[in-house]
Each structure stands twice: as C-alpha cells, then as structure tokens.
C-alpha cells in the first residue's frame, strides 16, 4: 500500500467514528474494557503463559484504553510509541535498541531515491549479514538478541522487499515501525507472518470500536485454545513413546501430539486480537483446521498467513513466469515450489530461533509427503473444475472425507514430531519393540 492510500484511510474512518455518538462510543468502550479486564483476570488466575505475558497483556490493554479515544491520525503513532516503550518492559534494552536501529536502517534504504534493484540488494544484503551474524555469540550479548531480531525481521523483511516493487511511494517510518515492531512479537517469538499490504489496508477499514470488539473475540478464542492446550499438554506427559503398549495408546498419543498445535493457533489468535484493539482489522490466522476435508483444504485452513505469504512470494511469481508454457503445469510447479520453499524457510526459521540448522528426516518427509499430496489433489481439483460444475458432495461424503483427512494429518504430524524416521516406525510397530 502506498503512503498516499494509507493517508486516505483515516479520513474516511474519521467520518465513521464521528458518525457514532459520544455516548455510544463510551458504552462500547466500557464493554470492551470490562471484557479485557476479565481476560486479564483469566490470564492471571490460570497462569496461561509465562509471567511476561501478563506484562504484555496489561500493556496492550492499557494502551487500548488510551488509543480508543485518540483521533484516528494519532492512533498509529501512538501504537508505535506503545510498542517501543512496551518492548523495554519485555526485552533487554540492548535488544530493543538493536531492533529499532536495524529498522531505521531498513527505513533509510527503503526511502532512498534509488532503483528497486539497488534497494533490494541493500536490504537483502543486510538480511544475509544478519543471518550469518546469527552465529556470533560474544560475551555479554543478550541471549534473546538473535532470536528477537530473527522473529522481527526474518520473514517480514522478505515481504517488505517484495512489496517495495509495487509501491508508488516509499513507506513512512510509522507504517514500517507499526509493522516490524508489533509489541506481541517481543514476547511471542514464534509469530505469524503478517502481510504488510494486508496490515496497511486493514487499518481502520471499518469503525475502530467494531474492530476492537472483534479483537476481543479473537483473544477469547485464542485463550480457550490455550486452556485446551494445557489439558492436552497434561495428557502428553503420560504418553511417552516408551509407554506405548496398545493400539489405543498409540492412537491417543498421535491425536494428542497433533492437538499440541493448539498452542500455535491459540497464540496466533491472541496476537491478531491484540492488533485489532489498535485498529488493524486483520483476517483470521486459522480457519477450523480440524474440519479440513482434504489435504489441500487443510493447507488452506491452517496457518493462513503462511499460506498467503507463500502464495505471494513463490506461487504467483512462479505461475506468472511459467504460465505461457501451460497454466495447469505452471500451477502444479508453483505448488511444488511452495512446499520446497516452506521446508527451506522452516529450517531457516529454526536456525534463527535456535542457532542450529534443522536437517531431519521426519521434517523432509513431512513436507515432501504433504507437498506431493497437495499437488495431486490440486491436479484433480483443476480437472474437476475443467469438467464444469460438479454436484455438491453429500453430508456423508463430507463427513467421511473430513474424518479421513484428520486421520492422515494425525499420522503425518506424529511422524513430523518424531526425532527420527526409525523412531516413528518403532512407535507404529510398538508390539515388535516391546
């Protein structure tokens, strides 16, 4: 999104805000604050996450109480100030200063009156230097420095680099800071890949009070998932691989392993909900992924932001490059490229967060199997669409497909979570191992 468009949105939304009476806004504010207070009590009572999560939540909820009453033009600068100030509460000062300095460097390069190629080269070079620098461990360097730099820049820098090409005007510092320095990122290092254009476009797209209320709903949904995760985690303790002695035990272990993903989907909902409180009307990150009716459907429902990221930087560019040689071929190659990139970028993410290179058999097998399956599914889907309108599948078919997909994913996930492929096979043949 260009800065020109970004500047236009608040004007429209100011009208929307102004059309709501002061008393109606006050009532809505009181209702949202009451819900946030209840949520904070739940976080505290159930010790939902680490203690720093309470600091994050209190900062975000308190920030909302101020942001709500600010004129629209001030909301985003306030959000940036809150993020930078709050980051000092969640991270060591050296970490925050390093992140803000790097962002300033990115901003300067993005604003340079130079060709797109040169700006990409400079920012890409910075990313490569940082990736190599990840290996540096000097005495006195905060342990959170590299993982935080990685969490903030490793993927979002790629997205901004890609988007710079289509921008008519360079992004403002506020826009970049709001994007890179989102406060939840300083607590949740495993963060969704938010799309820059989507975030810019979503800001104050409708009444900010309505957006904030939907944010509360996202936070509630995320909280419920995290509470469920706690239950699942408790069950996981009993299900050590060495304890598997029966088929039912194996099934339970597999399902529980998959359900641990509730932690990821739960935190993503909370993060996006928190961003809603400041006017970012972002789309959902997961769409009832347990009800996927095919592996392609599963890929489209789970971690939607990742899927959209891959579609943007891999699938569509590959498709456009190859489509003259046949659109179907281009789509299938584009999809295969997406899974290759997903595998490589997950290893890249693992490297940023841990400092170690991820090269494991189960990881390679998981992405290879899932990718091949989705490519085959896609080919069948394309053929079906070419044949014209297909009758909608009956309820029984949908139920069977959903159950089959769930089983396939549970088994694949169990394999992915195993330390080695032989360990996975040992668990499947527990009666032989004993």
């Amino acid at each position: 999104m260009t800065t020109a468009t970004a500047a236009a949105a608040p004007v429209l939304s100011d009208v929307a805000v102004a059309s709501t009476g002061w008393s109606a806004r006050a009532v809505r504010f009181a209702a949202i604050v009451a819900q946030l207070a209840l949520l904070l009590a739940v976080f505290w009572l159930f010790r939902l996450e680490e203690p720093a999560f309470l600091v994050l939540s209190a900062t975000v909820f308190g920030g909302f109480a101020v942001s709500y009453w600010l004129p629209l033009a001030w909301k985003e600068p306030f959000f940036v100030a809150l993020c930078i100030g709050g980051a000092f509460l969640l991270s060591e000062p050296a970490v925050v200063l390093a992140v803000v300095s790097l962002l300033t460097l990115v901003f300067i390069v993005a604003r340079m009156k130079a060709s797109y190629g040169l700006r990409v080269g400079l920012i890409g070079g910075l990313l490569i230097c940082l990736t190599i620098g990840r290996q540096v461990t000097l005495p006195g360097l905060p342990p959170a420095l590299w993982p935080t730099i990685g969490a903030v820049f490793m993927f979002r820098l790629i997205i901004v680099l890609y988007d710079l090409r289509g921008m008519k005007e360079a992004p403002s510092f506020t826009a970049l800071a709001a994007y890179f320095l989102m406060l939840p990122n300083f607590y949740f290092l495993f963060f969704p890949v938010v799309d820059y254009q989507t975030m810019r476009k979503s800001f104050a797209r409708r009444d900010v009070g309505e957006i904030a209320q939907s944010g509360v709903q996202w936070i509630v949904r995320g909280t419920l998932q995290l509470m469920l995760y706690r239950v699942v985690l408790g069950m996981k303790g009993e299900l050590e691989p060495s304890n598997i002695t029966s088929f039912m035990f194996l099934v339970k272990g597999m399902v529980v392993t998959y359900m641990l993903y509730l932690h990821v989907s739960g935190t993503f909902h909370i993060i996006v909900g928190m961003l809603h409180l400041f006017g970012y009307d972002l789309p959902e990150t997961h769409r009832r992924y347990l009800l996927a009716s095919s592996l392609t459907d599963f890929w489209r429902r789970i971690n939607i932001y990742w899927k959209d990221f891959m579609m943007k930087v891999v699938y569509l560019p590959v498709f456009f490059r190859l489509r003259k040689s046949g659109p179907v071929r281009a789509q299938l190659i584009g999809t295969a490229a997406v899974f290759l990139a997903t595998w490589a970028l997950h290893a890249y993410q693992y490297y940023w967060l841990t400092g170690r290179v991820l090269l494991s058999g189960p990881d390679i097998a998981f992405w290879a199997i899932l990718g091949s399956w989705v490519v085959v599914n896609l080919a069948l889907e394309i053929r079906a669409r070419e044949r014209g309108v297909q009758p909608a599948p009956g309820r029984v078919t949908v139920v069977l497909k959903t159950a089959g997909t769930f089983v396939a994913i549970v088994v694949l996930w169990f394999m992915w979570s195993s330390p080695t492929l032989s360990g996975f096979l040992d668990q499947l043949t527990y009666w032989k191992v004993g």
Binding site: R165, T198, L316, F320, T335, L378
Partner: protein, 86 residues
C-alpha cells in the same frame, strides 16, 4: 468502461464462480474475497485469467496480491487504472 461497469462484471463473475447460490445483494464491493477464503489460490489464478481476458489487460505477479484481489472495489480500481493508461 466505467468503474461501476467493471465492478458489475466482477461481481457477476464472483457470484457465478465462487458464490453460486448466494444472494447477489450479500456480495458487497468491500466483501473480502481472498482473506475470507471465498477465493482460494486456484480461484485467484482463474480470476486473473478472467480479468485479463475480459478487460484485455495484462497483470503482473505483484499486482495479484490481496491489495488488489481481496475486494471487488480494489480490483476494479486496478483494472480501471490499467485501462486508462492503455
């Protein structure tokens, strides 16, 4: 071709191919298509082909992101801009 005419054609296309059976009035110009899951990756490719064939324009990969392809009003603005500079 006016922006309203472009929107009308896009709306008809979305209703026929992605929202079969839906009441036309429910599809607004600002209804999210990509971010709501109405249009998936396959649907995006089909939509690109439709837009190029219908309006006689050529799109580039970076123009097919959510900034243009999520809402009818955004896509109509892109098409209108391309038609104007042709």
């Amino acid at each position: 071709m006016t922006v309203d005419e472009i929107k009308s054609r896009l709306r008809d296309y979305v209703l026929e191919h992605h929202l079969r059976g839906e009441i036309a009035a429910n599809l607004k110009d600002d209804t999210p298509l990509r971010t709501s899951g109405i249009v998936d990756s396959l649907g995006t490719i089909e939509m690109v082909t439709f837009v190029e064939d219908t309006f006689g324009i050529e799109l580039e990969a970076h123009e097919t992101g959510v900034e243009h392809f999520d809402r009818i009003e955004d896509l109509a603005a892109l098409v209108s801009g391309k038609l104007a500079t042709r």
